[in-house]
C-alpha cells in the first residue's frame, strides 16, 4: 500500500534539495540565453530557420531535461553516503515510498525546467514567425516523456549502484535507446536482447517531422508519452524491488 503522505514528504524534500543546486541555475540561465539568441539563426540558416529553431529548441529541452533527470542518481547516492537515507529509512518509512518520492521530486523539477525552456522557445518562435506555434508543444511533451524515462532509469541504476556508474549507465541507455532502430536490425545476440529490453527513445522523437512542417497528430504524441509513462512505471517497479533487497551499510 502506497502512503502518499510519506511519498510527498520525500518528494518535497528532494525538490527543495535539487532546487538549491547552484549549477542548475547556471544551466538554466545559459539555456535561456541560447533561446534568446535564437533569432540570430535568421542570417545563418538559408531559409531553413524554422527547422533549425525546432531542432535547437528540442535539443535545449533535452539538455535541460537530461541534466535535471540525472540529478536523481546523484541525489540518492548522496543520501546514502551522508546517511540521510539511513536516518529516514530507520523511521517507519517504506523503501518504495522513499524511492518513489525521490523520483517524483526530480520528475517535478524536470517538468518545471522543461516548461520554463519551452515557454522561452515558444515566445521566440512567436516573435520570429508571428502567431503561436502550438505544434512545438508536441516536441516539448514528447521530450518531457523521454526525460521522465531518463529519470526512472536514473532511479533504477541508483537503487543498486553508486552515483557515477549510475549516471554513466543512464546516459549509455539513453544513447542506445536512440539507436533502437539500429538494434532492431541486428537480428540476433546481444543486439536482439537490447532491442527487446531497452526503452525506445526514437518513438518520442518528433522534432524532424515538426521542423519540416510534417504534421503529427496529437494522438500519436500522446500514445508515445503513454509508452514513456508505462515504461517508467515498469522501471520504478523494478527499482523498488532491487532497492528493497539492498543492504544499506
Amino acid at each position: 500500500m502506497i502512503d502518499t503522505a510519506d511519498m510527498l514528504t520525500i518528494c518535497r524534500t528532494t525538490y527543495t534539495r535539487v532546487l538549491r543546486t547552484k549549477s542548475l541555475y547556471l544551466l538554466l540561465a545559459s539555456v535561456l540565453c541560447l533561446v534568446g539568441a535564437a533569432h540570430l539563426y535568421t542570417d545563418l540558416t538559408c531559409g531553413r530557420q524554422k527547422e533549425l529553431m525546432y531542432d535547437s529548441g528540442a535539443a535545449l529541452i533535452t539538455l535541460v531535461g537530461l541534466l535535471s533527470g540525472l540529478m536523481v542518481t546523484f541525489d540518492i547516492a548522496r543520501d546514502l553516503r551522508e546517511k540521510v537515507a539511513l536516518v529516514l529509512l530507520s523511521k517507519p518509512l517504506g523503501r518504495a515510498h522513499y524511492l518513489l518520492g525521490k523520483f517524483f521530486g526530480v520528475a517535478y523539477l524536470v517538468t518545471i525546467n522543461i516548461a520554463l525552456v519551452t515557454v522561452g522557445i515558444m515566445a521566440i518562435l512567436h516573435w520570429e514567425f508571428g502567431g503561436w506555434k502550438w505544434d512545438f508543444l508536441q516536441v516539448a511533451l514528447s521530450t518531457w516523456g523521454s526525460m521522465i524515462m531518463v529519470t526512472a532509469l536514473g532511479v533504477l541504476f541508483a537503487s543498486f549502484l553508486t552515483e557515477l556508474p549510475a549516471a554513466l549507465l543512464t546516459l549509455v541507455v539513453f544513447v542506445l535507446g536512440h539507436s533502437w532502430e539500429f538494434l532492431a536490425r541486428t537480428g540476433a545476440g546481444i543486439g536482439k536482447i537490447l532491442f527487446c529490453v531497452l526503452p525506445n527513445f526514437c518513438l518520442l522523437d518528433f522534432k524532424s517531422e515538426l521542423g519540416n512542417t510534417i504534421g503529427v497528430s496529437w494522438g500519436v504524441v500522446l500514445m508515445a508519452v503513454v509508452y514513456a509513462l508505462v515504461y517508467s512505471i515498469a522501471l520504478l517497479s523494478l527499482s523498488t524491488i532491487l532497492f528493497s533487497k539492498r543492504d544499506l551499510a
Binding site: 503522505a5 514528504t9 546517511k83 539511513l86 536516518v87 529516514l88 530507520s90 523511521k91 517507519p92 551499510a249
Partner: protein
C-alpha cells in the same frame, strides 16, 4: 516483552565474483534487552555492532535468524514507530536548517504541524541547540551534528533509542550532557541501546552490556555481575610474627601502613582462610577493601581469551590492520 530480542541473527556477506569470499559479519546472535535499561553494545572495530544495529532497524537483511523490536518483527516497518536511531558519523541533510530537518523527521512520523513545531522546539532545547533553529546543518560542527542527530532520534518520543557511537565527536561537556540525557530517558522508562568504544562511560552508564568479538557474542549481562572482584585487601591493627608466617604463603603482599597491617590477596578464594588464621591469632580485621576489575579490563580479558580460543590474533598484540582490510572468518 523485551525491548530488543534476537534469535540466531546472522549476517554473512559474499564478496567477489570469480572467487567468492564469505565474510561472517555476525553469527547466531541471541540477545534479550529488557525495557527500561541502558544497554551497552561493545566490541572492537569490525566486531559486528553496526551490522547488528542496522539489521535491527531493517537497513540490512539478515542471512538467517530473526529479531524483534518492542515485540514486533524487525521487517515490519511499524516496529520502528517507537524507535529512535542515531547512526555513526552522520552528516544529515546539510541543505536544511536544524528546524527544517527535525520538521522533516516529524513528517515521516506523521505528526501534525502543531506537534512538529512543539517537538522541534523541545528537542532543540534538550540538546542545547536553541537559537540555532535557522542555522543550516552544513554549518554545524561535529559535536553539533551529534546533538541534532540525537534530537531527530528523540523526535517521536521513542520507547527504544538506538545510538551507534553517540559519544564520538563530543567534547567532555557534550559527553556529560549526553549522559544526562540518557539517564533522563532511563528515568522516563525508555530503553537505550547504544554502542561505544569509551568503556569508562559505558561502565558508568549501563545496566547491562553485551560484548561482540568477530561476529560472536562472547559476554552479556549486568555490568556488576560481569566485572569481578579482582583483589582483596584486609587491614588489621596487630599482627604477630607467628600469624604473619602462616599467612605469608597465601598473601600477595603484607605491608605496614599507618600503624596498620595491610594484607593483600590476589582474589577472594583465600579470603576465608586468611580471616580464620587472623581470628585464631587474635588479630581483629579493621577493614576489608575489594579492588574491582574495570569494564575495560574485563573487555580486554574477554576479547583476548575469545580471540585465542578461536585462533585469531589478539587485537593490540598484532600489527595494525591495513585500512580497508577485511576480517574473514574461516568457515572450513
Amino acid at each position: 516483552m523485551n525491548a530488543v530480542e534476537t534469535q540466531d541473527l546472522t549476517k554473512e556477506y559474499v564478496t567477489g565474483w570469480r572467487k567468492p569470499v564469505r565474510l561472517m559479519a555476525l553469527e547466531g546472535l541471541g540477545l534479550e534487552v529488557k525495557p527500561g535499561l541502558i544497554f551497552g553494545f561493545l566490541g572492537p572495530n569490525g566486531a559486528g555492532k553496526s551490522t547488528t544495529i542496522k539489521m535491527l532497524l531493517g537497513l540490512i537483511t539478515p542471512t538467517r535468524g530473526e529479531g524483534f523490536l518492542m515485540g514486533k518483527p524487525i521487517y515490519d516497518k511499524t516496529a520502528r514507530e517507537r524507535v529512535g536511531f542515531l547512526p555513526e558519523d552522520p552528516s544529515f541533510c546539510a541543505y536544511l536548517s536544524s528546524s527544517e530537518f527535525l520538521d522533516l523527521c516529524g513528517k515521516v512520523f506523521h505528526m501534525d504541524k502543531a506537534t512538529r513545531r512543539k517537538r522541534t522546539a523541545e528537542m532543540l532545547a534538550l540538546v542545547g541547540l536553541t537559537g540555532k533553529e535557522k542555522t543550516r546543518i552544513s554549518e554545524f560542527s561535529r559535536g553539533m551534528l551529534q546533538r541534532i542527530g540525537l534530537a531527530q532520534a528523540l523526535m517521536n518520543n521513542p520507547d527504544l533509542v538506538v545510538l551507534d557511537e553517540p559519544l564520538n565527536g563530543l567534547d567532555p561537556y557534550g559527553r556529560k550532557e549526553l549522559k544526562n540525557i540518557l539517564h533522563r530517558l532511563k528515568r522516563e522508562g525508555k530503553t537505550v541501546f547504544f554502542s561505544s568504544h569509551i568503556l569508562s562511560d559505558v561502565q558508568e552508564m549501563c545496566d547491562e552490556v553485551g560484548i561482540l568479538n568477530r561476529g560472536r557474542m562472547i559476554a552479556c549481562g549486568p555490568v556488576k555481575d560481569l566485572v569481578q572482584a579482582q583483589s582483596v585487601k584486609l587491614q588489621v591493627a596487630t599482627l604477630s610474627m607467628d600469624v604473619m608466617q602462616k599467612i605469608e604463603p597465601l598473601a600477595k603482599a603484607i605491608t605496614r601502613e599507618h600503624n596498620r597491617w595491610s594484607i593483600e590477596l590476589e582474589d577472594t578464594s583465600k579470603q576465608a582462610q586468611v580471616t580464620d588464621l587472623l581470628r585464631e591469632g587474635g588479630a581483629a580485621t579493621v577493614e576489608v577493601a575489594r579492588g574491582m576489575e574495570t569494564l575495560e579490563e574485563f573487555f580486554f580479558r574477554q576479547i583476548a581469551r575469545n580471540s585465542r580460543e578461536r585462533g585469531f590474533p589478539v587485537p593490540g598484540d598484532e600489527p595494525a590492520e591495513k585500512p580497508g582490510e577485511k576480517i574473514v572468518e574461516n568457515k572450513g
